[in-house]
Amino acid sequence: QAQPALTVFAAASLTNAFQDIGKLYKAKTGQEVAFSFAASSALAKQLEAGAPAAIFASADNKWMDYTEAKDLTLKATRVTPIGNSLVLIMPADTATPVTFDASFDWLAFLGTDGRIATGLTDSVPAGIYAKAALTSLGAWDKVQPRIVGAESVRAALALVERGEARAGIVYSTDAAIAKNVKVVATFPAGSHPPVEYPFEIVKGQDNPATRAFFDFLTGPEAKVVYAKYGFVVK
Protein backbone atom coordinates (compact mmCIF):
# COMPACT_ATOMS: atom_id res chain seq x y z
CA GLN A 1 0.00 0.00 0.00
CA ALA A 2 1.05 3.58 -0.62
CA GLN A 3 1.06 4.81 2.92
CA PRO A 4 4.07 3.97 5.00
CA ALA A 5 3.46 1.93 8.07
CA LEU A 6 2.59 3.73 11.22
CA THR A 7 4.65 2.75 14.25
CA VAL A 8 3.05 2.48 17.65
CA PHE A 9 5.01 2.12 20.90
CA ALA A 10 3.02 0.12 23.38
CA ALA A 11 3.66 -1.37 26.80
CA ALA A 12 4.22 -5.11 26.60
CA SER A 13 1.01 -5.80 28.51
CA LEU A 14 -0.97 -4.35 25.60
CA THR A 15 0.49 -6.87 23.13
CA ASN A 16 -2.66 -8.90 22.48
CA ALA A 17 -5.17 -6.13 22.48
CA PHE A 18 -3.19 -3.88 20.19
CA GLN A 19 -2.38 -6.63 17.73
CA ASP A 20 -6.07 -7.42 17.41
CA ILE A 21 -6.92 -3.79 17.00
CA GLY A 22 -4.20 -3.40 14.39
CA LYS A 23 -5.73 -6.21 12.36
CA LEU A 24 -9.18 -4.72 12.64
CA TYR A 25 -7.82 -1.39 11.51
CA LYS A 26 -6.01 -2.86 8.56
CA ALA A 27 -9.12 -4.74 7.51
CA LYS A 28 -11.08 -1.57 7.68
CA THR A 29 -8.71 1.00 6.18
CA GLY A 30 -5.92 -0.94 4.56
CA GLN A 31 -3.41 1.01 6.64
CA GLU A 32 -0.60 -1.10 8.05
CA VAL A 33 0.32 -0.48 11.66
CA ALA A 34 3.60 -1.63 13.15
CA PHE A 35 3.89 -2.13 16.87
CA SER A 36 6.81 -2.21 19.18
CA PHE A 37 6.00 -3.89 22.45
CA ALA A 38 8.48 -3.39 25.25
CA ALA A 39 8.67 -2.05 28.78
CA SER A 40 7.20 1.45 28.99
CA SER A 41 10.52 2.71 30.33
CA ALA A 42 12.46 1.35 27.37
CA LEU A 43 10.00 2.87 24.96
CA ALA A 44 10.19 6.24 26.69
CA LYS A 45 13.97 6.21 26.52
CA GLN A 46 13.82 5.30 22.85
CA LEU A 47 11.47 8.20 22.16
CA GLU A 48 13.94 10.39 23.93
CA ALA A 49 16.66 9.11 21.65
CA GLY A 50 14.63 10.08 18.63
CA ALA A 51 12.79 6.91 17.75
CA PRO A 52 10.32 7.79 14.98
CA ALA A 53 7.19 6.35 16.60
CA ALA A 54 3.82 8.00 16.12
CA ILE A 55 1.91 6.94 19.19
CA PHE A 56 3.03 6.00 22.68
CA ALA A 57 0.81 3.86 24.88
CA SER A 58 2.31 3.60 28.33
CA ALA A 59 1.42 1.15 31.08
CA ASP A 60 1.55 3.86 33.69
CA ASN A 61 1.29 7.57 34.11
CA LYS A 62 4.85 8.10 35.30
CA TRP A 63 6.52 7.32 31.97
CA MET A 64 3.93 9.34 30.11
CA ASP A 65 4.66 12.23 32.45
CA TYR A 66 8.31 11.68 31.69
CA THR A 67 7.88 11.97 27.94
CA GLU A 68 5.62 14.94 28.37
CA ALA A 69 8.17 16.64 30.59
CA LYS A 70 10.82 16.04 27.97
CA ASP A 71 8.48 17.48 25.39
CA LEU A 72 8.48 14.27 23.40
CA THR A 73 4.77 13.60 23.33
CA LEU A 74 1.82 15.92 22.97
CA LYS A 75 0.21 16.52 26.33
CA ALA A 76 -2.92 17.81 24.65
CA THR A 77 -3.62 14.46 23.03
CA ARG A 78 -3.47 12.44 26.26
CA VAL A 79 -6.31 9.94 26.71
CA THR A 80 -6.69 7.20 29.24
CA PRO A 81 -9.25 4.81 27.75
CA ILE A 82 -8.41 1.78 29.82
CA GLY A 83 -7.31 0.79 33.24
CA ASN A 84 -6.68 -2.32 35.23
CA SER A 85 -7.14 -3.59 38.71
CA LEU A 86 -4.61 -5.19 40.99
CA VAL A 87 -5.34 -8.66 42.32
CA LEU A 88 -3.81 -11.23 44.62
CA ILE A 89 -3.54 -14.63 42.97
CA MET A 90 -2.62 -18.10 44.12
CA PRO A 91 -2.00 -21.38 42.38
CA ALA A 92 -5.36 -22.95 41.57
CA ASP A 93 -4.71 -26.01 43.75
CA THR A 94 -3.93 -24.09 46.92
CA ALA A 95 -6.21 -21.11 46.41
CA THR A 96 -8.25 -19.89 49.40
CA PRO A 97 -10.17 -16.61 49.23
CA VAL A 98 -8.85 -13.91 51.53
CA THR A 99 -10.07 -10.53 52.67
CA PHE A 100 -7.77 -7.65 53.36
CA ASP A 101 -8.98 -6.58 56.79
CA ALA A 102 -7.08 -5.69 59.91
CA SER A 103 -7.04 -9.28 61.07
CA PHE A 104 -5.44 -10.65 57.92
CA ASP A 105 -2.08 -12.08 58.90
CA TRP A 106 0.18 -11.95 55.89
CA LEU A 107 2.94 -13.99 57.48
CA ALA A 108 0.61 -16.77 58.49
CA PHE A 109 -0.82 -16.67 55.02
CA LEU A 110 2.65 -17.10 53.47
CA GLY A 111 3.82 -19.80 55.84
CA THR A 112 7.48 -20.30 56.74
CA ASP A 113 9.00 -19.60 53.37
CA GLY A 114 6.15 -18.62 51.10
CA ARG A 115 6.81 -15.83 48.63
CA ILE A 116 4.78 -13.23 46.85
CA ALA A 117 5.73 -12.73 43.22
CA THR A 118 5.14 -9.46 41.48
CA GLY A 119 6.96 -7.09 39.15
CA LEU A 120 10.11 -5.37 40.34
CA THR A 121 8.73 -3.11 43.05
CA ASP A 122 10.76 -0.12 42.06
CA SER A 123 10.53 -0.31 38.29
CA VAL A 124 7.92 -2.63 36.83
CA PRO A 125 4.52 -0.87 37.11
CA ALA A 126 2.67 -3.82 38.61
CA GLY A 127 5.38 -4.07 41.26
CA ILE A 128 5.20 -0.38 42.01
CA TYR A 129 1.43 -0.60 42.44
CA ALA A 130 1.81 -3.71 44.60
CA LYS A 131 4.23 -1.91 46.86
CA ALA A 132 1.87 1.03 47.16
CA ALA A 133 -1.07 -1.20 47.91
CA LEU A 134 0.79 -3.24 50.53
CA THR A 135 2.07 -0.08 52.12
CA SER A 136 -1.34 1.42 52.41
CA LEU A 137 -2.58 -1.85 53.87
CA GLY A 138 0.17 -1.57 56.46
CA ALA A 139 1.73 -4.87 55.38
CA TRP A 140 4.78 -3.74 53.41
CA ASP A 141 7.34 -3.87 56.18
CA LYS A 142 6.36 -7.38 57.15
CA VAL A 143 5.98 -8.70 53.65
CA GLN A 144 8.87 -6.96 51.96
CA PRO A 145 11.42 -9.73 52.62
CA ARG A 146 9.01 -12.19 51.05
CA ILE A 147 8.52 -10.17 47.88
CA VAL A 148 10.22 -11.50 44.76
CA GLY A 149 10.37 -8.99 41.96
CA ALA A 150 10.12 -10.40 38.46
CA GLU A 151 11.22 -8.73 35.30
CA SER A 152 7.62 -8.46 34.11
CA VAL A 153 4.15 -9.26 35.30
CA ARG A 154 4.28 -12.29 33.04
CA ALA A 155 7.29 -13.68 34.79
CA ALA A 156 5.59 -13.17 38.15
CA LEU A 157 2.54 -14.98 36.84
CA ALA A 158 4.69 -17.89 35.74
CA LEU A 159 6.17 -18.18 39.23
CA VAL A 160 2.71 -18.51 40.70
CA GLU A 161 1.47 -20.82 37.97
CA ARG A 162 4.36 -23.17 38.69
CA GLY A 163 3.77 -22.98 42.41
CA GLU A 164 7.23 -21.56 43.06
CA ALA A 165 5.62 -18.59 44.77
CA ARG A 166 2.75 -19.00 47.18
CA ALA A 167 0.97 -15.94 45.86
CA GLY A 168 1.33 -13.16 43.33
CA ILE A 169 0.21 -9.63 42.81
CA VAL A 170 -0.65 -8.99 39.17
CA TYR A 171 -3.21 -7.21 37.02
CA SER A 172 -6.64 -8.67 36.64
CA THR A 173 -6.02 -8.89 32.88
CA ASP A 174 -3.09 -11.16 33.47
CA ALA A 175 -4.94 -13.26 36.01
CA ALA A 176 -7.77 -13.67 33.53
CA ILE A 177 -5.63 -15.38 30.93
CA ALA A 178 -3.55 -17.53 33.23
CA LYS A 179 -4.59 -21.13 33.43
CA ASN A 180 -3.57 -22.46 36.80
CA VAL A 181 -4.13 -19.49 39.06
CA LYS A 182 -7.12 -18.15 40.89
CA VAL A 183 -7.80 -14.59 42.02
CA VAL A 184 -8.17 -14.76 45.78
CA ALA A 185 -8.63 -11.04 46.40
CA THR A 186 -8.74 -7.73 44.61
CA PHE A 187 -6.88 -4.80 46.13
CA PRO A 188 -9.20 -1.94 46.98
CA ALA A 189 -9.08 0.80 44.34
CA GLY A 190 -8.01 3.32 46.94
CA SER A 191 -5.05 1.30 48.15
CA HIS A 192 -2.88 2.23 45.18
CA PRO A 193 -2.78 4.88 42.47
CA PRO A 194 -5.17 4.03 39.69
CA VAL A 195 -3.74 1.61 37.12
CA GLU A 196 -4.12 3.51 33.92
CA TYR A 197 -2.88 3.24 30.36
CA PRO A 198 -2.37 6.74 29.02
CA PHE A 199 -1.95 7.17 25.22
CA GLU A 200 -0.39 10.18 23.54
CA ILE A 201 0.68 11.17 20.07
CA VAL A 202 4.38 11.71 19.64
CA LYS A 203 5.50 15.24 18.95
CA GLY A 204 5.80 16.00 15.24
CA GLN A 205 3.67 13.00 14.27
CA ASP A 206 0.33 14.64 14.68
CA ASN A 207 -0.92 14.11 11.14
CA PRO A 208 -4.22 12.76 9.81
CA ALA A 209 -2.95 9.21 9.47
CA THR A 210 -1.80 9.13 13.08
CA ARG A 211 -4.93 10.82 14.26
CA ALA A 212 -7.09 8.30 12.46
CA PHE A 213 -5.50 5.35 14.22
CA PHE A 214 -5.23 7.18 17.53
CA ASP A 215 -8.97 7.76 17.42
CA PHE A 216 -9.55 4.16 16.42
CA LEU A 217 -7.60 3.06 19.52
CA THR A 218 -10.12 4.82 21.70
CA GLY A 219 -13.15 4.00 19.57
CA PRO A 220 -15.91 1.48 20.17
CA GLU A 221 -14.35 -1.36 18.16
CA ALA A 222 -11.21 -1.10 20.24
CA LYS A 223 -13.14 -1.02 23.47
CA VAL A 224 -14.66 -4.38 22.63
CA VAL A 225 -11.19 -5.80 22.26
CA TYR A 226 -9.99 -4.28 25.52
CA ALA A 227 -12.92 -5.75 27.36
CA LYS A 228 -12.23 -9.12 25.85
CA TYR A 229 -8.78 -9.13 27.42
CA GLY A 230 -10.06 -8.05 30.84
CA PHE A 231 -9.10 -4.40 30.85
CA VAL A 232 -11.27 -1.99 32.75
CA VAL A 233 -12.73 0.17 29.99
CA LYS A 234 -13.41 3.74 31.07
Binding site: T7, S36, A42, Q46, A49, G50, A51, R154, Y229
Partner: protein, 229 residues
Protein backbone atom coordinates in the same frame (compact mmCIF):
# COMPACT_ATOMS: atom_id res chain seq x y z
CA UNK B 1 4.35 -25.32 11.25
CA UNK B 2 5.39 -21.75 11.87
CA UNK B 3 3.08 -18.79 11.35
CA UNK B 4 4.11 -16.17 8.77
CA UNK B 5 4.86 -13.85 11.63
CA UNK B 6 7.20 -16.41 13.14
CA UNK B 7 8.88 -17.01 9.81
CA UNK B 8 9.49 -13.29 9.61
CA UNK B 9 11.19 -13.37 12.99
CA UNK B 10 13.30 -16.39 12.03
CA UNK B 11 14.35 -14.84 8.71
CA UNK B 12 15.16 -11.60 10.45
CA UNK B 13 17.19 -13.35 13.12
CA UNK B 14 19.21 -15.13 10.49
CA UNK B 15 19.84 -11.93 8.58
CA UNK B 16 20.83 -10.06 11.68
CA UNK B 17 23.08 -12.86 12.89
CA UNK B 18 24.73 -13.18 9.49
CA UNK B 19 25.40 -9.52 8.95
CA UNK B 20 26.41 -8.88 12.54
CA UNK B 21 28.98 -11.64 12.22
CA UNK B 22 30.02 -10.57 8.75
CA UNK B 23 30.79 -7.02 9.77
CA UNK B 24 32.22 -7.63 13.20
CA UNK B 25 34.55 -10.45 12.21
CA UNK B 26 37.18 -8.39 10.37
CA UNK B 27 37.12 -5.76 13.08
CA UNK B 28 37.44 -8.50 15.68
CA UNK B 29 40.41 -10.02 13.87
CA UNK B 30 42.10 -6.66 13.71
CA UNK B 31 41.36 -5.92 17.35
CA UNK B 32 42.57 -9.34 18.44
CA UNK B 33 45.75 -8.84 16.43
CA UNK B 34 46.41 -5.46 17.97
CA UNK B 35 45.70 -6.77 21.47
CA UNK B 36 47.81 -9.88 21.02
CA UNK B 37 50.74 -8.51 19.13
CA UNK B 38 51.40 -4.92 19.92
CA UNK B 39 52.28 -2.87 22.94
CA UNK B 40 51.09 0.67 23.26
CA UNK B 41 50.06 3.09 25.96
CA UNK B 42 46.30 2.72 25.94
CA UNK B 43 46.25 -1.02 25.40
CA UNK B 44 44.76 -1.95 28.76
CA UNK B 45 42.04 0.57 28.11
CA UNK B 46 41.23 -0.87 24.70
CA UNK B 47 41.29 -4.30 26.29
CA UNK B 48 38.78 -3.16 28.87
CA UNK B 49 36.62 -1.45 26.30
CA UNK B 50 36.40 -4.61 24.25
CA UNK B 51 35.15 -6.64 27.19
CA UNK B 52 32.73 -3.99 28.35
CA UNK B 53 29.64 -5.19 26.42
CA UNK B 54 30.10 -8.54 28.08
CA UNK B 55 30.33 -7.28 31.60
CA UNK B 56 27.50 -4.78 31.43
CA UNK B 57 23.88 -5.84 31.53
CA UNK B 58 22.73 -6.02 27.93
CA UNK B 59 20.00 -3.54 28.70
CA UNK B 60 22.65 -1.05 29.66
CA UNK B 61 24.57 -1.81 26.50
CA UNK B 62 21.41 -1.13 24.54
CA UNK B 63 20.87 2.07 26.44
CA UNK B 64 24.41 3.22 25.76
CA UNK B 65 23.90 2.41 22.09
CA UNK B 66 20.75 4.43 22.19
CA UNK B 67 22.62 7.35 23.70
CA UNK B 68 25.39 7.23 21.16
CA UNK B 69 23.85 5.87 17.98
CA UNK B 70 20.21 6.87 18.45
CA UNK B 71 18.68 9.47 16.13
CA UNK B 72 19.68 12.18 18.62
CA UNK B 73 22.71 10.33 19.86
CA UNK B 74 26.26 11.66 19.97
CA UNK B 75 27.22 9.89 16.79
CA UNK B 76 23.81 8.87 15.57
CA UNK B 77 22.73 12.36 14.66
CA UNK B 78 25.67 12.75 12.30
CA UNK B 79 25.21 9.30 10.85
CA UNK B 80 21.73 10.37 9.92
CA UNK B 81 22.53 13.93 8.83
CA UNK B 82 25.65 13.11 6.82
CA UNK B 83 25.10 9.61 5.51
CA UNK B 84 21.39 9.13 5.94
CA UNK B 85 22.04 6.07 8.07
CA UNK B 86 19.25 5.46 10.55
CA UNK B 87 19.88 2.75 13.09
CA UNK B 88 17.10 3.11 15.56
CA UNK B 89 14.10 0.94 14.70
CA UNK B 90 15.91 -0.62 11.78
CA UNK B 91 17.35 -3.98 11.05
CA UNK B 92 20.69 -2.25 10.67
CA UNK B 93 20.38 -1.12 14.27
CA UNK B 94 19.51 -4.63 15.43
CA UNK B 95 22.57 -5.83 13.57
CA UNK B 96 24.72 -3.27 15.34
CA UNK B 97 23.34 -4.33 18.71
CA UNK B 98 24.03 -7.99 17.98
CA UNK B 99 27.50 -7.19 16.70
CA UNK B 100 28.42 -5.11 19.72
CA UNK B 101 27.24 -7.73 22.17
CA UNK B 102 29.03 -10.59 20.44
CA UNK B 103 32.21 -8.60 19.83
CA UNK B 104 34.04 -9.51 23.07
CA UNK B 105 33.38 -13.19 22.50
CA UNK B 106 34.65 -13.07 18.95
CA UNK B 107 37.73 -11.12 19.88
CA UNK B 108 38.53 -13.48 22.72
CA UNK B 109 38.27 -16.59 20.57
CA UNK B 110 40.37 -15.12 17.80
CA UNK B 111 42.93 -13.84 20.21
CA UNK B 112 43.46 -17.22 21.79
CA UNK B 113 43.90 -18.75 18.35
CA UNK B 114 46.28 -16.01 17.35
CA UNK B 115 48.44 -16.55 20.38
CA UNK B 116 48.76 -20.18 19.43
CA UNK B 117 50.25 -19.33 16.05
CA UNK B 118 53.95 -20.17 16.02
CA UNK B 119 55.75 -16.87 15.61
CA UNK B 120 58.71 -18.74 14.21
CA UNK B 121 56.65 -19.38 11.11
CA UNK B 122 55.96 -15.69 10.76
CA UNK B 123 59.65 -14.95 11.03
CA UNK B 124 60.32 -17.60 8.41
CA UNK B 125 57.80 -15.97 6.10
CA UNK B 126 59.48 -12.62 6.49
CA UNK B 127 62.87 -14.02 5.60
CA UNK B 128 61.19 -15.29 2.45
CA UNK B 129 60.38 -11.75 1.46
CA UNK B 130 56.89 -11.27 2.84
CA UNK B 131 56.05 -7.95 4.45
CA UNK B 132 54.29 -7.86 7.80
CA UNK B 133 50.95 -7.44 6.08
CA UNK B 134 51.68 -10.20 3.61
CA UNK B 135 52.72 -12.49 6.47
CA UNK B 136 49.50 -11.74 8.23
CA UNK B 137 47.39 -12.75 5.27
CA UNK B 138 49.48 -15.62 4.00
CA UNK B 139 50.55 -17.25 7.26
CA UNK B 140 48.94 -15.89 10.39
CA UNK B 141 45.39 -15.68 9.11
CA UNK B 142 45.23 -19.20 7.64
CA UNK B 143 46.73 -20.65 10.80
CA UNK B 144 44.22 -18.92 13.04
CA UNK B 145 41.24 -19.90 10.91
CA UNK B 146 39.96 -22.39 13.49
CA UNK B 147 39.87 -19.57 16.01
CA UNK B 148 38.12 -17.26 13.58
CA UNK B 149 35.60 -19.95 12.85
CA UNK B 150 35.06 -20.48 16.53
CA UNK B 151 34.70 -16.74 16.97
CA UNK B 152 32.20 -16.57 14.14
CA UNK B 153 30.22 -19.38 15.68
CA UNK B 154 30.11 -17.59 19.00
CA UNK B 155 29.08 -14.41 17.21
CA UNK B 156 26.27 -16.12 15.35
CA UNK B 157 25.11 -17.93 18.45
CA UNK B 158 25.09 -14.86 20.63
CA UNK B 159 23.47 -12.79 17.87
CA UNK B 160 20.73 -15.40 17.62
CA UNK B 161 20.17 -15.14 21.36
CA UNK B 162 20.59 -11.39 21.77
CA UNK B 163 17.64 -9.75 23.47
CA UNK B 164 18.36 -7.03 26.01
CA UNK B 165 20.48 -4.70 23.93
CA UNK B 166 18.27 -5.10 20.90
CA UNK B 167 14.97 -4.34 22.55
CA UNK B 168 16.46 -1.42 24.41
CA UNK B 169 18.23 0.06 21.41
CA UNK B 170 15.96 -0.59 18.46
CA UNK B 171 12.76 -1.69 20.13
CA UNK B 172 10.59 -4.56 19.07
CA UNK B 173 9.18 -3.86 15.60
CA UNK B 174 7.93 -6.77 13.57
CA UNK B 175 9.85 -7.36 10.39
CA UNK B 176 12.46 -4.79 11.35
CA UNK B 177 13.88 -5.60 14.73
CA UNK B 178 11.73 -8.37 16.13
CA UNK B 179 14.19 -11.25 16.10
CA UNK B 180 13.40 -14.64 17.56
CA UNK B 181 14.20 -13.69 21.17
CA UNK B 182 12.02 -10.59 20.91
CA UNK B 183 9.24 -12.62 19.36
CA UNK B 184 9.54 -15.07 22.24
CA UNK B 185 9.31 -12.15 24.63
CA UNK B 186 6.21 -10.87 22.89
CA UNK B 187 4.72 -14.33 22.86
CA UNK B 188 5.07 -14.65 26.60
CA UNK B 189 2.95 -11.53 26.92
CA UNK B 190 0.11 -13.07 25.01
CA UNK B 191 -2.37 -15.30 26.75
CA UNK B 192 -2.05 -18.01 24.14
CA UNK B 193 1.59 -17.33 23.46
CA UNK B 194 3.11 -20.38 25.17
CA UNK B 195 2.90 -22.57 22.10
CA UNK B 196 4.48 -19.88 19.99
CA UNK B 197 7.24 -19.33 22.55
CA UNK B 198 7.95 -23.04 22.59
CA UNK B 199 8.01 -23.27 18.79
CA UNK B 200 10.42 -20.36 18.54
CA UNK B 201 12.60 -21.78 21.25
CA UNK B 202 12.80 -25.01 19.29
CA UNK B 203 13.70 -23.06 16.17
CA UNK B 204 16.49 -21.39 18.15
CA UNK B 205 17.77 -24.73 19.26
CA UNK B 206 17.66 -26.12 15.74
CA UNK B 207 19.47 -23.09 14.36
CA UNK B 208 22.09 -23.36 17.04
CA UNK B 209 22.69 -27.03 16.42
CA UNK B 210 22.69 -26.41 12.68
CA UNK B 211 25.29 -23.70 12.86
CA UNK B 212 27.34 -25.85 15.21
CA UNK B 213 27.23 -28.76 12.82
CA UNK B 214 28.21 -26.53 9.95
CA UNK B 215 31.00 -25.06 12.02
CA UNK B 216 32.34 -28.44 13.02
CA UNK B 217 32.32 -29.57 9.39
CA UNK B 218 34.20 -26.43 8.38
CA UNK B 219 36.51 -26.90 11.32
CA UNK B 220 37.48 -30.37 10.25
CA UNK B 221 38.23 -29.20 6.72
CA UNK B 222 40.20 -26.23 7.93
CA UNK B 223 42.22 -28.37 10.27
CA UNK B 224 43.09 -30.76 7.50
CA UNK B 225 44.02 -27.79 5.33
CA UNK B 226 46.32 -26.25 7.87
CA UNK B 227 47.73 -29.57 8.88
CA UNK B 228 46.46 -29.66 12.41
CA UNK B 229 43.98 -32.47 11.97
Amino acid sequence: MLTPEEWTAVALSLRVAFWATFWSLPVAVLTAFVLARSRFAGKSLLDGLVYLPLVLPKVVVGYLLLLTLGGRGLIGQYLDAWFGIKLIFTTAGATVAAAVVSFPLTVNAIRLALEAVDRGLETAARTLGASRLDVFFSVTLPLMLPGILSGALLAIASALGEFGATITFVSNVEGQTRTIPLAIYSATHMPDGDAMALRLTLVSVVLALGSLLLASLCDRRIRVMIGRA
